[in-house]
C-alpha cells in the first residue's frame, strides 16, 4: 500500500486540504473521511491543494464527484490548486477544468472565495 496523507488547515471559513502521496482506491477513503469531517462541521469552502500529490487514480477523482453536488448546494465549493503537470494531465484528460476551478496557487483560490 502506498502512502497517503491529508493535512488540513483552516483559515477562517475556508479549509485547505493538502494531499500528500498516492491517491488510489486504497487510500481514497481517507480523503473521503476528511471531506466528510469538513461537511459535518459545516465547512463548505474547501480548497484541495496538490503540490505533494504524486498520483491520482479514477477512484481519487471519484471522491470529488461524490461530494461536489452537496457542497455546492450549501453555497460552497471545492477549488483545486497546486497541481503538478502530471497530476493536471489526469484532471485535464477527464475534463475537470470544465467542472472545477483550478488554480496554480492556494492563495488564488482563497482570493476567489473572499471575492464574494
Amino acid at each position: 500500500m502506498e502512502n497517503f496523507e491529508v493535512i488540513r488547515e483552516d483559515r477562517k471559513d475556508i479549509s485547505i486540504l493538502r494531499l500528500k502521496g498516492f491517491l488510489d482506491a486504497h487510500t481514497a477513503p481517507q480523503f473521503e473521511q476528511a471531506i466528510q469531517d469538513l461537511m459535518g462541521e459545516k465547512r463548505f469552502k474547501i480548497i484541495v491543494s496538490m503540490s505533494s500529490l504524486n498520483y491520482i487514480s479514477s477512484a481519487g477523482l471519484g471522491v470529488f464527484m461524490g461530494f461536489i453536488e452537496e457542497i455546492r448546494e450549501n453555497d460552497g465549493d471545492i477549488k483545486l490548486s497546486n497541481m503538478s503537470d502530471k497530476v493536471f494531465k489526469v484532471f485535464d484528460l477527464l475534463g475537470f477544468p470544465a467542472l472545477y476551478q483550478i488554480y496554480r496557487e492556494e492563495t488564488e483560490a482563497e482570493a476567489k472565495y473572499n471575492q464574494k
Binding site: 464527484m65 484528460l93 477527464l94 470544465a98 467542472l99
Partner: protein, 694 residues
C-alpha cells in the same frame, strides 16, 4: 415347554402347589410326630424348586437390573423394613416357640408350625429381591471376574444347602463330625462373599450429599441387618426347610458383610467427597463447553458462551472477557456476565489497564486473593467495588500471540484456589481455539466471496467484448485486452453503421470489481441501441451521457471515445468524452500524433457542460494511416522502478512499425509492454484497438 415357563400365572400356580405340599407335610409331621425321610427330602426339594420358580417369576415380572443405584438402595431399605414389619406382626399374632438345644429346632405349638412356614415364605419372597439388589450394586462396574465370583457363590451355596440337608449338620462353622462337609463349603461361600464385598465402586460416583446421607443411614441399616437373622430366621426357617435355611443364612451373611464394607467405604470417601464432586462437575462442564463451542462459529455468540459457562463452573460472582482492540492499543470488554451497565461504561481506558497489561506481559494466569488498599492493582476496586478476589487468565493463541484475558471475580477474598485456576486455564484454552477458528473461518468465507465476485466480474467483462473483429477491404483491425488481477472496467466495441461506416468505441469505467463490469454492460446496451438511431459520435455520446448520468453513482463515471469511420471516403469522425487521446499515425509525415479534442467524461454532469465541451473532430486518412485507441491502463503501466510506460513510448513504437500489419504491430506492442513490465503486475486493464487504413 418354554411357553409354559413364560406364563406367569402357570408358574405361580405351580409354585403355590409346591409350597402347599411342603406346608402340609410339616403339619402332618407335627401332628403325627412321625418323620418319613423320602417325603422329607421331597419337601426340601419342593422348597428349593419353589425358590427357583420364584426367582424366575421375579425376573419376568420386575426388571430389578435396570434400577439405578439410588433406586436400588431405596428399595433395599424399604424391603428390609417390610421384612421387619411382617416378622413383628407374625411374632405378635402367632407367638411362636421352638425347642432349643437341637438342630433344627422344632416347633412346639401348631401356631409355631404356621409361623415357621410363613416366615420361610416371607424369607424367600423378600430375601431374593434383597439379594438381587445387592447384585445390582456389585455389578455397577462389571468385569469378567464378577460373573465368575457370583456363579461360584451361587453354586457353592447350593452345594452347602444340599450338604446340610443330607448331613443334617448345623452350618455354624464348627468343623467336627458331619458338620465338616457343609461347613467347609460354607467357608468357601464366605470367601466368595468377601471378594464381592470389594465391588462397591458405585460409592465413588455418588454426590457428596448422597455419600453423607447414605453413610448415616448405613449405620442403622447394618445394625438392622445384623439383628435380622437372630430375630427372624434362626429358628423359624430351618424348622420348616433346611435348604432354605441355608440359603437365607448365606444371603444374610452376604448382606451383613457387604453392608459393613459399604458403610466403611462410605466413611472413607467422606473427606474427599467435596473435591471429588467438584472434579466431576469440572469434567462435565469441560464436555459441555467443548460441545457447545465446537458447534458455534459466530464470534459474538462464542464470547458470550465462554463467559456464561465460566461463571457456571467456577461459581464466580462476575465474569468478563477482555479482548485486544483491533486497531488501537488496549482491551475492550467483548462479553460479560453479571457486570452492571455502569461498570461496563466505566471500563478503564487502555492506559489505565495496568492489571491487564501486566497479565499480557507475563503471559500467565494471575490470582489476586485479597486487595488491601496498598495493593498495586487495588485500582480495580475503584472501577468495580465488589471485587474481593480476582483471577485473570490470558488467552494465548497457537502462534504465541495474546488475544485477551478471561477474568472472574468473587465478592469474598480468598475465593479462588489453584483448582479454579486450572479450570479457568482449560476453559481459556478451549475458548481461544474456538475463537481462532471462528476468525479464520470468517476470513476464509470473506476471501472466497471476494474471489467469487472477481470471477463473476471477469466473466461478465469477457462476454461484453466483441468476439471477432470486423474485416473489410478498406481497413485492418486488431484488438487487444490484457486484464489486470483486480478487474477494471475496460470495454471496446465495434458497431456496424449504415453506408459502409464502422463505429469504434472504447471506454473505461472508473472503479473496479463487479460494479464496474455491470456498468459496462449497461453502457454497451445503451450504445448498441442508440446506434440504430444516431450514427454521429458526438450525438451518440450526448444521448449516452443523458441516460447514464441518471443511473451511475455520483462517484462513478465512464471515459469514452467514439469514432465513426467512412471506410470508402476514408474519413474518421470522433469525439472524446474524457478518454485518453486518439493516437493518429500520419503516413505522410510519418509522425504519430495524439489527438485530444475537448470533452468531459460520461456521468460527470447532467448535460449542459457535457454537450458544450464535447467537440467532434474529423480526420481525413490516407492509406497507411494508423489509428490507435487505448485506455489508461497502457499509459499508466508501471515497471519495478516506478516508471510509467506513457503515451510517448506508444507513439514511438507505432511510428517505428507503421509499415507492418496490425497483427504484427499488436504482437510487438504486447512484447514491448511485457518486457517493460518485467514481471510487475498491471494495475489496471489495458485495451488497444489498432485500425490501419489499407
Amino acid at each position: 415347554m418354554t411357553k409354559l415357563f413364560s406364563s406367569v400365572k402357570v408358574l405361580i400356580a405351580l409354585a403355590s402347589i409346591l409350597f402347599l405340599y411342603s406346608m402340609l407335610y410339616d403339619m402332618f409331621a407335627y401332628f403325627s410326630d412321625v418323620s418319613i425321610p423320602p417325603l422329607e427330602y421331597l419337601s426340601e426339594a419342593a422348597m428349593l424348586i419353589f425358590a427357583l420358580l420364584y426367582y424366575h417369576i421375579l425376573n419376568l415380572e420386575y426388571n430389578l437390573q435396570n434400577k439405578s443405584i439410588q433406586e436400588s438402595l431405596k428399595l433395599f431399605v424399604y424391603l428390609l423394613g417390610v421384612l421387619y414389619f411382617l416378622v413383628i406382626v407374625l411374632h405378635l399374632v402367632l407367638n411362636p416357640s421352638f425347642s432349643p438345644g437341637q438342630f433344627p429346632q422344632l416347633p412346639e405349638t401348631f401356631s409355631s408350625v404356621l409361623y415357621s412356614n410363613l416366615i420361610t415364605l416371607i424369607a424367600i419372597l423378600l430375601m431374593t429381591p434383597l439379594f438381587l439388589l445387592i447384585k445390582n450394586l456389585i455389578y455397577y462396574k462389571r468385569k469378567k471376574r464378577t460373573d465368575f465370583l457370583l456363579k461360584s457363590f451361587l453354586l457353592s451355596s447350593l452345594a452347602c444347602a444340599v450338604a446340610t440337608v443330607i448331613t443334617q449338620a448345623e452350618p455354624n462353622l464348627v468343623f467336627e463330625e458331619a458338620g465338616i462337609y457343609n461347613n467347609s463349603i460354607l467357608l468357601l461361600v464366605l470367601v466368595c462373599i468377601l471378594f464381592v464385598s470389594f465391588y462397591n465402586s458405585w460409592i465413588t460416583y455418588l454426590s457428596r450429599k448422597e455419600k453423607v446421607t447414605y453413610f448415616l443411614i448405613s449405620i442403622f441399616v447394618v445394625w438392622a441387618i445384623i439383628y435380622l437373622f437372630e430375630f427372624a430366621f434362626v429358628a423359624a426357617v430351618p424348622a420348616h426347610s433346611l435348604a432354605i435355611g441355608v440359603f437365607v443364612n448365606i444371603v444374610w451373611y452376604l448382606m451383613v458383610i457387604y453392608a459393613i464394607f459399604a458403610s466403611f467405604y462410605l466413611l472413607l470417601h467422606l473427606p474427599t467427597a467435596r473435591v471429588f464432586d467438584r472434579k466431576m462437575s469440572e469434567v462435565a462442564s469441560m464436555h459441555d463447553l467443548s460441545r457447545a463451542i465446537s458447534t458455534e462459529f459466530d464470534f459474538s455468540k462464542l464470547v458470550k458462551l465462554l463467559t456464561e459457562m465460566t461463571t457456571r463452573v467456577i461459581g464466580s460472582d462476575s465474569t468478563w472477557l477482555e479482548l485486544r482492540q483491533k486497531t488501537e492499543n488496549g482491551l475492550y470488554i467483548a462479553s460479560s456476565h453479571n457486570l452492571s451497565t455502569d461498570e461496563i461504561k466505566n471500563f478503564p481506558a487502555s492506559e489505565q489497564q495496568l492489571l491487564s497489561s501486566h497479565i499480557l506481559n507475563i503471559k500467565r494466569p494471575l490470582i489476586i486473593n485479597e486487595l488491601p488498599r496498598n495493593h498495586p492493582y487495588a485500582y480495580v476496586k475503584e472501577w468495580k467495588k465488589d471485587i474481593g478476589s480476582i483471577i485473570g487468565v490470558p488467552l494465548i493463541s497457537g502462534n504465541g500471540k495474546s488475544l485477551g484475558i478471561l477474568y472472574a471475580t468473587k465478592k469474598q477474598p480468598f475465593g479462588f484456589d489453584p483448582d479454579d485456576q486450572a479450570m479457568l486455564e482449560a476453559y481459556a484454552n478451549q475458548g481461544i481455539i474456538a475463537l481462532d477458528n471462528a476468525t479464520l473461518l470468517k476470513q476464509s468465507f470473506e476471501r472466497e466471496r471476494l474471489e467469487e465476485e472477481l470471477r463473476i466480474a471477469r466473466d461478465v467483462q469477457q462476454r461484453l467484448l466483441p468476439q471477432t473483429t470486423p474485416k473489410n477491404k478498406y481497413i485492418d483491425i486488431e484488438a487487444l485486452t490484457i486484464t489486470a488481477y483486480e478487474v477494471g472496467g475496460d470495454y471496446y466495441d465495434f458497431i456496424k453503421l449504415p453506408n459502409n461506416h464502422i463505429g469504434f468505441i472504447i471506454g473505461d469505467v472508473s472503479g473496479k470489481g463487479t460494479s464496474a463490469a455491470f456498468y459496462m454492460a449497461e453502457a454497451k446496451g445503451i450504445i448498441q441501441s442508440l446506434s440504430r438511431s444516431f450514427s454521429n459520435p458526438k450525438e451518440l455520446l450526448i444521448r449516452t451521457n443523458e441516460i447514464l448520468y441518471e443511473s451511475l453513482e455520483r462517484k462513478t463515471f465512464i471515459s469514452m471515445l467514439m469514432a465513426s469511420m467512412d471506410c470508402k471516403k476514408r474519413l474518421l469522425n470522433f469525439a472524446r468524452a474524457g478518454h485518453c487521446p486518439l493516437l493518429y499515425y500520419n503516413s505522410t509525415d510519418e509522425q504519430a500524433h495524439l489527438l485530444q479534442p475537448s470533452g468531459i467524461g460520461v456521468g460527470l454532469e447532467r448535460g449542459q457542460i457535457f454537450n458544450k465541451t464535447l467537440i467532434e473532430q474529423e480526420v481525413r486518412c490516407n492509406p497507411g494511416d494508423i489509428f490507435v485507441f487505448y485506455t489508461d491502463g497502457l499509459s499508466e503501466a508501471r515497471n519495478a522502478k516506478g516508471e510509467e510506460f506513457g503515451d510517448d513510448r506508444l507513439c514511438h513504437i507505432v511510428a517505428k512499425n507503421a509499415h507492418k500489419s496490425m497483427t504484427e504491430m499488436k504482437q510487438i506492442i504486447i512484447d514491448t509492454i511485457l518486457s517493460f513490465l518485467d514481471g510487475q503486475n498491471l494495475a489496471d486493464d489495458l485495451t488497444l484497438l489498432l485500425v490501419k487504413s489499407k
